[in-house]
């Protein structure tokens, strides 16, 4: 599994790829692998405002459902509607399949998120391997 070094990560297994006040959010390779075959993604609406840590949707595999939490506060500017028809893309390419894009309201919130190395350490502590 791989975790791009430019992204920031949450302990709930989302990543955010931010440039200035624009960010794309997806789920990590670890998250898609834990969930297994993904069959449904519940997306937010464009214009929704999110708080950091707020649930904005969910990802469902055959066996489980996992809520999605926004890593930072912001306003949804775009949703990846292709996931309605091809949710399995998250399994095959979690690192580049974004779920939503948002305008970040406070970029300093990014600093409290995990780096790729910190996230990897967190995963290995959590799973014991």
């Amino acid at each position: 599994m791989s975790y791009p070094t430019g992204y920031r990560y949450t302990k709930e297994h989302e990543w955010i790829d931010a440039t200035g006040t624009t960010g794309s959010i997806g789920i990590t390779d670890y998250a898609q692998s834990s969930l297994g075959d993904i069959v449904f993604v519940e997306l937010p609406k464009v214009g929704d405002t999110l708080e950091a840590g707020e649930a904005f949707g969910s990802v469902e595999s055959v066996k489980a459902v996992s809520e999605l939490f926004s890593p930072v506060a912001g306003t949804v500017t775009e949703i990846n509607e292709a996931l309605n028809d091809a949710p399995e893309t998250l399994n095959s390419d979690a690192n580049t399949t974004w779920i939503l894009k948002l305008t970040i309201s406070d970029t300093t919130q990014l600093d409290s998120l995990l780096s790729a190395a910190e996230y990897e350490t967190f995963i290995s502590e959590e799973t014991g391997h």
Binding site: D37, F40, S61, V62
Partner: protein, 380 residues
């Protein structure tokens, strides 16, 4: 105070599952594979080819002696006197109030010898219940053989061809829900049963539970089935397969708060037997005009997946029940569920709503089972 966590129990194939990098989970206190290559791939393999499951966590209780038939018939709701040697049937152990201790498969080994296969999660409770209920009966010995066997399930339309390569026993002569003993992978006296929990044709074999033997047979079954597309399968696909086939799962469709008639399993309860534990309570329900609620199949009409425990409402907004098992159905490609609802809501095509994370999503009542395997043509 520190919490004491009992170590997970392991089947003889635990090292094999781990070496194959199966995804492992705590399943009722057992460290079991939930997924090997992927739930959808495994589910599809069993519906269209063949899959191999380790189900050694299941328990096995033997009742032996001249009193064994009387004991089985007191303990279980089906009528074991109707079984021939080499035949098995679906049954259940009930509490006096007609609810479930567990559902079981009873095998008649000989006139004085029955093997009852029980669920893994309820093993200890079941064995205590058996001892309490029939321990006082004369001439019956209760043996817990649960740890003596590795139990493998070979399931799917190519299961027979797969297993036939490993035994000289003519498998085509074993009828559904019958069993025999044969030599399998060089092991003598292996019990070969044409049973399973997937809705497909298939076999369950019982081999000695030592690790080298279990691992060798596991590998030989996979090698034998390679040409038919066999893959090892986990408990995840076992669950979706049994849900599509509308087979009950303890703790979900059946439990100590649900009775046999509600669960739609009345045909296995032989109320004309003079006595069995739970009979009087079932008769009472029947004489009162039947149960108030029943198990139904639901198919989601709108987008969304109803999961275990989600509440079910009428379209007018009255809460009427909850989902016992719900999931996407990988073969049918629909989102399905089973739920208990009042009898007035059980007519086919009745529209109901499932609450999914705060949203009411429409579903309709459909016939069970959701999936039934196609009948073989007469030439087979």
């Amino acid at each position: 105070m520190a919490e004491t966590v009992a170590p997970l129990r392991k089947t003889a194939l635990n090292a094999v599952h781990r070496a194959a990098k199966a995804k492992m989970v705590d399943f009722g206190g057992w460290d079991m594979p939930v997924e090997y290559s992927g739930l959808i791939a495994e589910h599809t393999a069993v519906r269209t080819a063949v899959g191999l499951f380790d189900v050694s966590h299941m328990g096995d209780i033997q009742l032996r002696g001249p009193g064994s038939l009387a004991a089985v018939n007191e303990l279980c709701m089906n009528d074991a006197s109707k079984l021939a040697i080499g035949q098995a049937h679906y049954s259940a152990m009930l509490y006096p109030n007609g609810t479930f201790v567990d559902d079981v498969i009873v095998h008649k080994l000989s006139d004085n010898d029955y093997l009852i296969v029980i669920n893994a999660g309820t093993r200890e409770k079941d064995i205590q219940w058996v001892r309490k209920t029939i321990g006082h009966m004369p001439s019956v010995h209760i043996n817990d053989f649960s740890d003596h066997y590795t139990q493998l399930a070979i399931q799917g339309p190519r299961a027979m061809e797969t297993l036939q390569k490993l035994t000289s026993t003519d498998l085509s002569t074993i009828k559904n829900y019958w069993f025999t003993w044969g030599k399998v992978c060089g092991l003598y006296n292996v019990m070969i049963a044409r049973t399973g929990y997937t809705g497909e044709d298939g076999f369950e074999i019982y081999i000695p539970s030592d690790e080298p033997t279990s691992g060798r047979v596991w590998d030989e079954v996979l090698a034998a089935g390679a040409e038919f597309g066999i893959i090892p399968c986990g408990l995840g696909s076992r669950n979706t397969l049994r849900l599509e086939s509308a087979m009950a799962l303890y703790g979900h469709e059946i439990s100590d708060t649900i009775n046999v008639l509600e669960a739609g399993l009345g045909r296995y309860a032989k109320l004309d037997k003079p006595s069995f534990t739970g009979r009087d309570a079932l008769l009472e329900v029947q004489n009162a005009g039947g149960p108030q609620r029943k198990l139904v199949g639901l198919e989601m009409i709108e987008r969304g997946i109803g999961r275990d425990g989600y509440p079910v409402f009428t379209l007018e907004g009255e809460k009427i029940g909850e989902i016992t098992s719900g999931s996407p159905a990988p073969f049918l490609k629909k989102n399905i569920a089973m739920a208990y609802v009042p009898v007035v809501c059980t007519a086919l095509d009745t529209e109901l709503a499932v609450e999914i994370r705060g949203q009411k999503v429409k579903a309709k009542v459909v016939a069970l089972p959701f999936y039934k395997r196609p009948k073989k043509s007469a030439s087979l």
